[in-house]
Symmetry: D2
Subunit: 294 residues, 4 copies
Amino acid sequence: MTTTAFIGLGAMGYPMAAHLSRHAAEHGGAALVWNRTASKAHKHAAEHGSRVASLSELAQADVILSCLPTSASVDEMIGRLEGQLRPGTLWIDCTSGHPDAARTQRTRLAAHGVRFLDAPVSGGTSGAQQGTLTVMLGGPADEVEEARAALPFAAKVVHVGNTGAGFAVKAINNVLLAVNLWAAGEGLAALAGLGVNVSAALDVINTSSGRSNATENLIPQRVVTRQFPVTFTLGLLAKDIGIALDVVHAAKGSAPVLAQTGALYDAAARNVGTDVDHTAALQFVERMNAREIR
Amino acid sequence: MTTTAFIGLGAMGYPMAAHLSRHAAEHGGAALVWNRTASKAHKHAAEHGSRVASLSELAQADVILSCLPTSASVDEMIGRLEGQLRPGTLWIDCTSGHPDAARTQRTRLAAHGVRFLDAPVSGGTSGAQQGTLTVMLGGPADEVEEARAALPFAAKVVHVGNTGAGFAVKAINNVLLAVNLWAAGEGLAALAGLGVNVSAALDVINTSSGRSNATENLIPQRVVTRQFPVTFTLGLLAKDIGIALDVVHAAKGSAPVLAQTGALYDAAARNVGTDVDHTAALQFVERMNAREIR
Amino acid sequence: MTTTAFIGLGAMGYPMAAHLSRHAAEHGGAALVWNRTASKAHKHAAEHGSRVASLSELAQADVILSCLPTSASVDEMIGRLEGQLRPGTLWIDCTSGHPDAARTQRTRLAAHGVRFLDAPVSGGTSGAQQGTLTVMLGGPADEVEEARAALPFAAKVVHVGNTGAGFAVKAINNVLLAVNLWAAGEGLAALAGLGVNVSAALDVINTSSGRSNATENLIPQRVVTRQFPVTFTLGLLAKDIGIALDVVHAAKGSAPVLAQTGALYDAAARNVGTDVDHTAALQFVERMNAREIR
Amino acid sequence: MTTTAFIGLGAMGYPMAAHLSRHAAEHGGAALVWNRTASKAHKHAAEHGSRVASLSELAQADVILSCLPTSASVDEMIGRLEGQLRPGTLWIDCTSGHPDAARTQRTRLAAHGVRFLDAPVSGGTSGAQQGTLTVMLGGPADEVEEARAALPFAAKVVHVGNTGAGFAVKAINNVLLAVNLWAAGEGLAALAGLGVNVSAALDVINTSSGRSNATENLIPQRVVTRQFPVTFTLGLLAKDIGIALDVVHAAKGSAPVLAQTGALYDAAARNVGTDVDHTAALQFVERMNAREIR
């Protein structure tokens, strides 16, 4: 009977933890939840049958899952639990964290006999709700195998490399999202300026070689509609781009397009805001072009 | 009974014209073909039942379809046919041409009573073979409607705007392909440098938000395999990027990411060659990173 | 006794033509002036002793000097004079023009026996007043030698290559100005954000390896003072950057930094305006950084 | 009678320390030197009358000057001296270091009563020899005033801000050098491709608005001559660009041109090497353009 504890009931974590509750109900075991703002944990317990845990209960879980805004928040949680952790626990961190932090955290927890895996997820809030997330895992193969059973919110679990590799792949995925989105914004703004119907252009591009998740989903659903619903903030994407550029630097790589795009997202965040949806970055593309994308 | 003539039996045109032959056989009408190197036209006639046309026969067709490397080649064909064209003909140009050229060509042909539509296609050689191309049409609505019947190689025909809009959308599609491909190359080179398995990373990205046609198809099939099969050359993609930047300029737009990427493709073409497959541009990304993407 | 005619009495041309008047008074010969808005020519005649010319008088001059906003304006003037030009005239065009235009103009004028040299100038309005301009000449060596005597406003005359080379060098000079200025703006905005005194930083940079005309003159005099006096507009600089990128393209070159900077100036022009001083482009750098450079 | 100790007798430090010796000989006081490879210190003593110091002698100096490759080397020296330092010493670090390191080092040394100032220099090896360096100082005003007397190798000493500001300004200076150099390389490669004489073009640019230290000195002396004499390595410049981008990040700035240029220098360093002169980066510009700059 496994006890699993989930830390961080944000936009992603809340529905992810619901899958843990359901899984525990069906297969036995306990699903504990913890959140900095405790009321959210109580709401989760009421809605999904999880159990609100104290920090010391958390610390005794067989598996700890965390999903927090940044690696710094994970460091802080480790600090709060450090004295009470028990050997043998597997800590699976689903934060979009920093590869350097993963290595430090793994070493720090190893001193307590706790194994740390970086396990960021992709698929957005809808994937979290439907339990169709992709998890990219970094760490030793045997621990990764052990972790698979603890991820009932995932449709796909891929072992991508050693500790930190999960965070690295996630960061690169997100910077590609950022580039694909921005470039499409630049191109569509130009077409709009020539009187081309943007939706018709997207219709064509989406059966052609220039298509991406940005042209297939994000721009038609969020930009052309002018709704920009906030599911993943521009501030968090800008942070992830920063991690990606650190990944390039650590690899002694050269990535001029990623670097340039990162700087442009920084300008967008300065001008459009950090708490808006990440697709609102295209509002800065629109400002640069003095023209709306629609 | 419609007579349709097809000019330009290259990698795309050859299979596209085959659909015209089949269509004529099934629905009546004649399918003429013409190619600068005549032997290719004779081969097409033998293989697909089309009829090799003289220039003067071409000029009398109800519908002329062209698919040539550049707008300059189309200008040259117009020059060769100009004295013999007859009023009423519809000229549908499937070249990846230049919007400015489209406007000039339409005006020039209008003097002979011939209507010109820009109608570039997307879908690659496999789409041409299977008859599943997307056609993006620029021109007046009524002529576009008339053109639909003459495109048996298309699964999707979209009217994107006035004369030149088809070429503009195609160019923007292709520059997005170029950016998505290059950025993925930069990101994957960094991951490779950190010991991440590139195929595992692609596997993850392709169920995540950073996915694009480049990560889903081009890189796994052409780059990771080191095959770089030549279906669309780097030289032609570089030309299309140049058209896209002209589109941005004509729109008085600002597209720093597209502009930088264009310059990098120019460097790649200088170093890797122009007759290689467009995906071989990533060999220059590899050189910049001193590391293979795999 | 040489008759020299000057076309285009703008911010640069007006003081340049004054040197012609003085030179004619001292050495003999006649100095004619012409301007689209005739009142400016009459003012020049009154102030500097030049003579207002009719178009037909202009056309008969031994040397025609022009200094207009763009090559298109020069084309227009050639059109107005074409029927009246006489063989043997030397036309020296000080416009910041396009190399392609220079070649076309030279050919067009050669049909009338008129020799055309591209001869853009550098040194700004103060250099024009003081007669210390630099002239970069493109054309055959013997004609360039002949032209030297006709440039009393120049302190330095350099033969840089064949027809068009003068315009090419001028465009590259101006894009370097643009890059040096923009990059300095980015760097100083960051320093300002960290509480570094911008003037102290400029003081240091200007005795160090990062110095440029932008840090030595433009930013201290125009940006830090918030005066942005209009001597050379952002619109004209943006035009010159466009010519520079065409030069790169014609050379089959790869210039990612120039290309990106060009796109950013386009965004600046869209947002800050085209009739402002070119240094006001840094107001867009400030917007991107949400911080003033001072 | 002041005792001054100099740590790090590299290309810059060796001649800088010679000024300390001369100053001590003229004004009284002692000039100690220390170098990781001791033979260089002995050579300095023989040539310039300095005195080779042991670590414990170093630690007792009134003023410690250091000039090392990176902040990490300075950290290492602090570690070796930490137990022996005496309160009241002023440590002036002339390394091109990292602003974050400056703050950490100042705090660390403050625990021993030692005051740390960041004091990077500019002017190159010739400025070091002639005693005409510029020093940019970061720290409290009173300590900066005290430091002025200890810098006999400087022609200009500027207080640019708080601790770290000196390193920040130096990094920004160096990234501007990098951008100005690279952009000039791109522009000149294009001109060379059009048959323009590069030296004539530089002659013009250097009396025009596009001039910079790169066009006035580096390119004519090092690139056009094909000599690329190693006085400041590409590896160190690439490191400094990295610091500059960290400065931009710390300032929450947006610097797309600096970021792009940084990535291109990384590619150059990967391909041309890190131990070559920094101007050899233009060999990668030449490769991108398939053309020499001359």
